[in-house]
Amino acid sequence: MSDFSGMEDLLQDFLQEASDLLSDVDNKLVDLEKDPGDRRLLNDIFRGFHTIKGGAGFLNAAELVTLCHLTENLFDKLRNAEMQLTPELMDTIMAATQGVRAMFGELSQAVQPRPAPSEVIHALRVALHEQEPEATAAQAAAPEAPKSDDPVMTPSAQSADRGSAGGPDWQALHAAVTGQESVASPVSPAKSSVALEPAGSKAVATEAELTPHFPPEGRRATDKPGFVGTGATTGRRNEEKIATRESTIRVDTARLDQVLNLSGEIGLTKNRLTSLRADILAGRNDSETLHALDQAVSQLDLLVSDLQNSVMKTRMQPIGRLFQKYPRIARDLARQLGKDVELALVGEETEVDKTMIEDLADPLVHLVRNAVDHGVESPEERLAAGKPAKSVVRLEARQEGDHIVLIIADDGRGMSPERIRNKAIEKGLIREEEANTLDDRQSLNLIFLPGFSTMTQASAVSGRGVGMDVVKTNIQKLNGSVEIRSEPGKGSVFIISLPLTLAILPVLLVLLGDQPFALPLSMVREILPIEKEKMQEVGGKETLVVRGEVLPVVALSRLLGWPQLQTPEYGVLMQTSERSFILSVDSFAGRDDAVIKSLDDFRPRGVAGVTTLSNGQIVLILDMKELLADLNAHVDRDAIAKQHPKAIELSA
């Protein structure tokens, strides 16, 4: 049952906008912790809660209004320097924002939020020097409010009359403020609670200025470790909820206008073609008509590719929207573990397909938590190792060609390939003889095996049943890959590489005999002729020197396991994230923007999908990484790995 019938649209809008706002607030809170006196930050956070409160009022979400209101009041005092930000107060504020997020979760299920945890409300009220509502109603509000009201109101009424020639109805306004009018409004429960509180808090605030800032109860309420703990747990559950799919998207109107504009242009070009067709069918085929046809078709070509680009761009969202959620997660976890960690965000403006952003949320949460939990050492350990006590975990996004690269790097203890190998053997994930053939890189990759966990005991933090294997699977589903680099004592780096979009792929069409194959153009650096006499043999492998760089030559026929019918004439210089090589092919058929059709159930290894050429021919799009991995594995089995690890890597 929905508590919001008739308001679903409004609720959706509110949740989307307010969630963005809250993420922003969360981030600013993390910044604020570093610079507690920053007035601009205090102001922004104040405004965030204020805005959420305003929207919540319209949704009759009384509990959300109350929580935001208390927090907003706290920030009002902070920004007016009536109060100092202490770590205890910060915990209270963090708990309050988690409370707000929890309420968003409830709202997204179309239920009115339940009251915030009483300890959060209590801590806020204590911080505001407000008494518990039961007490306030009886003592503070009743005798004090009327007393302070009269003298203040008289000058205000006068100044109002003087101030505005239009003469607004200040009587009614005052009524609205003091809440007397609230019965008239259908949203009275929310309204009266909002309207009454300022009067109460005002009265108490003046009295409180005389008393010391933090009464002992305040300390105790927020100091209890259990309190922070529970707060963080609810938070985590909510962070997971973030990943629920949004069915709407916010698009820059300029981008939509561009789509509209292009579709209009295409319509015009279509009209031109229609009239040309009529001419041609009527027998006109003079050079002028044909030239016009040629022009119209080339124009259509341009317009359609522009349109494809524009439509794709409407799905692109800055990854910052996702990144925003992590500083807070890292901070909470670090505090819980007694570590000092800063999460540095780089490249937040990088744009990624919306679906991908949603599917990345969980793997990234896991990697960030993993870095803080397992990667980073305790401050003591760090100091002992001669590192600064504060650790920096870097979360970076950037576009490389038509790939998006995400990096999660910590400066922690790093991973030991030896330990990982032993662990995997101990867990029965691989056999000892298998382990011995693995190089360091392959050993690190063992952590992606289902059932692997480097810690002897899963800590409270990571014991969530989600392992690194899930991270890898999720990223592979997006046609991406994960790579680990780690140096013991210096830290670990996880590199995720993803295609820019899942829909269109620029490809190079190469021929093996008459059969075309499509290679992702992103990997192609250049095309060169293969001259037999320039080929050199190094370590039993064919190589070619390109501008001083010795590159292995791999025949496409060999990768596919096809017979070599003719000597390849051309080489395609391919580059993956860590190696370059030359792929030798018979010939070329040109380049194309392939619209990828996936091979749903039937997906042979090494094939990323299929596409149709303009002449209707079906072409396989090759997954070079998979083909290379297969070739690698094959060579590894030959056990040459031991002698020439470098050559093996290059041979791929």
Partner: protein, 129 residues
């Protein structure tokens, strides 16, 4: 009631809120509504002319509602423009500040179409519309 074709500018940094106000105005028969995200943008639009009524939020980045109101009152061509302040701020100091800056009316969020209609009517009455 005033001319339903009256051109109204709704100023709020929270788009959900702009939509709420817009819908409420529509319920009251005012459909000729434009929006601005903050005071600075609003002022630009107002200076371009054509607006007969402003409904503005208080708390906004760049230029807040009070600054916008002050700017409107100190611009000769806009000085007479009716400005309705909408805010979740129910403190007396705020209302006094709004009054002193020359607000034509003040509504505390949340409110209903009926409340909005009532406030608008009061302003129209004062204007002699």
């Amino acid at each position: 009631m005033a001319d339903p074709k009256m051109r109204i500018l709704v100023v709020d940094d929270f788009s959900t809120m702009r939509r709420i106000v817009r819908n409420l105005l529509k319920e009251l028969g005012f459909a000729n509504v434009d929006e601005a995200e903050d005071g600075a943008i609003a002022l630009q639009k107002l200076q371009a002319g054509g607006f007969e009524f402003v409904v503005t939020d208080w708390n906004m980045p760049n230029m807040d509602g009070l600054q916008l109101l002050q700017a409107i009152r100190s611009t000769p061509s806009l000085a007479q423009l009716p400005v309705l302040m909408i805010t979740a701020e129910a403190k007396k100091e705020n209302i006094i500040a709004a009054a002193q800056a020359g607000a034509s009316g003040y509504i505390v969020k949340p409110f209903t179409a009926a409340t909005l209609a009532e406030k608008l009517q009061k302003i129209f009455d004062k204007m002699g519309v």
